[in-house]
């Protein structure tokens, strides 16, 4: 029974990683940029949601505003930060991205204070149980949201004309453009979707912990960067698998070697070990 509970806990954490890491790997696949500032957008989503939820009394309204707003913010990051330096070596964009992430964290600290915001009424804190197995409402919603949103994304990518054009652009941008695909639009949509997914993950984490703080993106940023390497950079299916695998490993590790290492240390130990054995990632992109 413990194993089952740990697996479920792992899948819950893995769902959160997946929502965030898929966006990161999408950006990498399209532009070959390690988009560290993704975690800054993640935090932005949580702040917008908590402020609107507390002002209006509706978490749903907070999420409905925060997700598209962060999507637009992601598009602005592409336009203002990355687009002007796309023809530079990749480390230029990486440095710019790290810089923006630091600026964003400091801006949240300056504007909202270092101690963080809480929801004036906690949401989804009740426990849902099937027999002996249970999880908090926010945790259940995390899994449903990750499954639902990522399935929707897969359907859009496979079944629609634009989705096919998007994947063609990832595969060979110059050829896709020559066939009439608007590859600039693909980039904007890519950033909108990636950032919106990160915002949805952040809102659920904020609800779960009932806390939004300036540095809430730090640990997820390191972990999701490592996850997309594990998943084979740019490989969406691999990233999903790596997210869930990391979640489960963390959950088991916390119980079985938790007296030696804390949860984040276990995650990074796992990542270091895997990358030592398979430096190309578990699922290397073709």
């Amino acid at each position: 029974m413990l194993q089952l509970e740990l697996t479920i806990q792992g899948l819950i954490n893995g769902s959160m990683y997946a929502l965030m890491a898929v966006g990161l790997t999408l950006v990498y696949g399209l532009l070959r940029i390690l988009h560290v500032a993704h975690a800054g957008l993640y935090t932005l989503g949580a702040y917008i949601a908590v402020l609107i939820a507390n002002a209006s009394g509706s978490l749903l309204l907070g999420a409905a505003v925060a997700i598209p707003a962060v999507g637009l913010a992601g598009m602005a990051v592409y336009r203002l930060l990355y687009e002007p330096i796309l023809d530079r070596p990749p480390y230029v964009a990486l440095i710019a991205s790290i810089g923006l992430f630091i600026v964003m964290e400091e801006a949240y600290r300056l504007v909202f204070g270092p101690y963080g915001e809480t929801f004036s009424t906690p949401y989804l804190a009740g426990r849902l149980a099937i027999g002996p197995i249970g999880a908090k409402g926010a945790e259940v919603l995390m899994v449903i949201a990750a499954f639902g949103l990522l399935t929707l994304l897969a359907l859009l990518a496979r079944r629609t004309r634009f989705g096919v054009a998007w994947r063609a652009t990832v595969s060979d941008p110059a050829m896709a453009r020559s066939f009439g695909v608007d590859t600039i639009k693909v980039r904007y949509v890519n950033f909108f979707v990636a950032s919106g997914l990160a915002a949805s993950a952040a809102i659920l984490v904020a609800v779960l912990n009932n806390l939004v703080e300036p540095t809430m993106g730090s640990v997820p940023s390191y972990k999701t960067l490592a996850i997309i390497v594990l998943g084979g950079l740019g490989n969406v299916a691999g990233t999903l698998a790596a997210s869930l695998a990391l979640g489960v490993i963390e959950a088991f590790g916390t119980i079985y070697i938790g007296h030696l290492l804390d949860r984040d240390a276990i995650a990074f130990l796992f990542l270091v070990l895997v990358l030592m054995i398979r430096p190309q990632g578990l699922f290397a992109a073709k």
Partner: protein
């Protein structure tokens, strides 16, 4: 239909093709032959808009398209099956075709896919498979089919037979003849002079970026020794030596 007037093109400071005059009419197959680096692929890529024009003009139906974007050229009826095929490898055959027809509205897509599958029935069996997993011959079919999806009047096909099994080459040339019969103009690059002379109506030989011989395919067959000498092919010299 297509007319190159003293067209020069290249990459940065490097000249790949020098003052080339060439015409391709509707319902006609023209083959470009030449040694590696003679400028054959560069010519096709310049017509499709992927290589910088450095002089002269490209006319299509009398319109000067020299500075048109690649996509505009596709929309006006020029399609390219490029060197190395450059398929979207992770995308299925169907999806490659969808992208190929992106300049046409979605309504015509189904009809154009039918046309491609009628031309290459084998692709129907591979329809949902990732293009990267197909054999070389099947990939060439996808490359030609993808180009056809934009309803071109002029097809540019690079390296038709390179790396393909003879049977597949026959299938591809069968399709190219079928396209000619429908009134398409075809400008193709071919490594094998034998294949080129058999399939084409006219032949243009390039050497170091210049046209050095041109004529009908029948004339080319009669002058194959001369042409082989231009190509500097080992085959001709080796045959002579033995």
């Amino acid at each position: 239909m297509l007319r190159l007037e003293a067209m020069s093109c290249g990459y940065g400071g490097m000249r790949a093709v020098e003052a080339l005059d060439l015409e391709v009419g509707a319902g006609e197959i023209v083959a470009l032959v030449g040694a590696n680096g003679a400028g054959k692929s560069s010519t096709l890529m310049a017509i499709a808009g992927h290589v910088e024009l450095q002089g002269g003009r490209i006319l299509f139906d009398g319109d000067d398209i020299s500075s048109a974007a690649p996509m505009a050229r596709v929309a006006s009826g020029i399609a390219l099956a490029p060197e190395g095929r450059r398929l979207f490898r992770d995308l299925s055959v169907r999806e490659n075709l969808v992208v190929g027809g992106y300049v046409r509205d979605a309504g015509r897509q189904a009809r154009n896919i039918e046309t491609v599958l009628a031309l290459f029935p084998r692709l129907a069996e591979r329809f949902e498979r990732p293009a990267g997993t197909l054999s070389g011959g099947e990939q060439q079919m996808v490359a030609i089919g993808r180009a056809l999806m934009s309803e071109p009047r002029l097809m540019l096909i690079d390296e038709v037979s390179l790396g393909l099994m003879p049977k597949m080459v026959d299938v591809c040339y069968g399709a190219i003849r079928a396209l000619r019969a429908r009134g398409l103009g075809v400008l193709l690059v071919e490594q094998s002079t034998e294949r080129a002379f058999a399939a084409a109506d006219r032949v243009c030989v390039l050497e170091s970026g210049r046209a050095v011989w041109r004529g009908s395919a029948a004339e080319a067959r009669g002058n194959s020794a001369v042409i082989d000498a231009y190509l500097g092919v080992g085959r001709a010299t080796a045959d002579a030596a033995s």
